[in-house]
Symmetry: C2
Subunit: 174 residues, 2 copies
C-alpha cells in the first residue's frame, strides 16, 4: 500500500530538502516529504531545580520564543556529539554528564524530522560561539518557574514544553 514507485528531490537546500514520492497514479498517491537530518535538544541542569533556556528569534514564525538549546545534526555526527557541541556553542557550557531522555517526531505527517532529547548535567563554563545568523539570549530559570511561564503564555515551542514536562513529571520520578 505504501510502496514508493518514484521519488524526486524538488529542492535541496541548506536546512530543508523537499522530496516528492509517487505511490501510484492519482492525486491521493502523491506524498510530499521534508527530508530532515534530525536534531537534538538539550535540557541543561544548573541544579536539580534550575535549568538554562534560550530566548531565540525564529524567522518562520516571526517572533522570539523560549526554547531549550537545540540544533541540527551535521553529516557524520552522532546525536550525543551534536548535543555536546550545541550546548557549548549556543550556551557556552561543557557537560560532564549527558543522558538520553526521549525521542520525538515533531511533524510526522510531512517531515522525517526526529529530535533526540538529552539531559545535560555537571556543567562547566566554556565559551559561547554563535553562528552569524543566530540571535540568542540565555535565560536561567527555575524548572517550576519555566513551566509556569510557558503555561501562562499558552503559545509554546513544542520540544521545549515536552522536555520540561517530561523531565519534571516522568523522568525525575522514575
Amino acid at each position: 500500500m505504501w510502496e514508493t514507485k518514484e521519488s524526486k528531490i524538488i529542492y535541496n537546500g541548506k536546512v530543508v530538502k523537499l522530496r516528492i514520492d509517487y505511490l501510484g497514479d492519482g492525486e491521493n498517491k502523491v506524498r510530499e516529504v521534508i527530508q530532515h537530518p534530525g536534531a537534538v535538544a538539550i535540557l541543561p541542569l544548573i541544579s536539580e531545580d534550575k535549568v538554562i533556556l534560550v530566548n531565540q528569534y525564529r524567522y518562520p514564525i516571526g517572533r522570539w520564543i523560549l526554547e531549550v538549546p537545540a540544533g541540527t545534526l551535521k553529516e557524520g555526527e552522532s546525536p550525543e556529539e551534536c548535543a555536546l557541541r550545541e550546548l557549548e556553542e549556543e550556551v557556552g557550557y561543557k557537560a560532564r554528564r549527558l543522558k538520553k531522555m526521549l525521542t520525538i517526531y515533531p511533524s510526522p505527517g510531512y517531515s522525517t524530522e526526529v529530535i533526540h532529547i538529552y539531559l545535560a548535567s555537571g556543567l562547566e563554563k566554556s565559551t559561547q560561539r554563535l553562528e552569524e545568523d543566530e540571535q540568542i539570549t540565555i535565560v536561567e530559570l527555575g524548572l517550576d518557574e519555566a513551566i509556569k511561564e510557558l503555561s501562562r503564555n499558552g503559545e509554546v515551542d513544542g520540544k521545549t514544553f515536552i522536555t520540561l514536562l517530561y523531565y519534571k513529571y516522568v523522568y525525575r520520578r522514575s
Copy 2:
C-alpha cells in the same frame, strides 16, 4: 535584521508549500520556510481518566505511531470548526464541549506550522469518515496508561505527548 528583500514560492503542493526568502546578499541571508496552513489536535475525553487516541501510519517516518486525533485547517475554517470536523471524521464522535488548552509550534526553525490543541468532552457517537489515504485504528486508553506506554516506548509523536502531559499535570490541576 530580518527584513525580507525577496520571496519566492519554490513548490506549492497539497500539504507543503516551500518558500525561499532573501534577507540580503550571501548564503547566511537565505531563509527556507515551509508554509503550513496550521493544524489542530484534539484530546477526546471519554471520562475524566480515559481518552481516545489513534494509531496511524505516517509515511514520512515509515511507521505506525500513537497520536491524538489531528488534522490540517481547511481554507476559511476556524480551529474550532476544524477540531470538531476532525474528531467526527477521524474518530466518529461529536463533542458537546470543546476547550482550548494550548498552542504549540512544532518546528519553528523552518516551518510556520502552529498546532491548536483542544480538549473535547461530552462525546456522542457519530460516524467515522476516513479519507482515502488515511489508515487509522482507534484506541481507548486510560490517561495514565497512555503516558506510561509512550514513556516506555521512548519514541513519541510530539503533539501527542505534550497534550497528555499538559492535560494531566498542568491543565487539570489549574
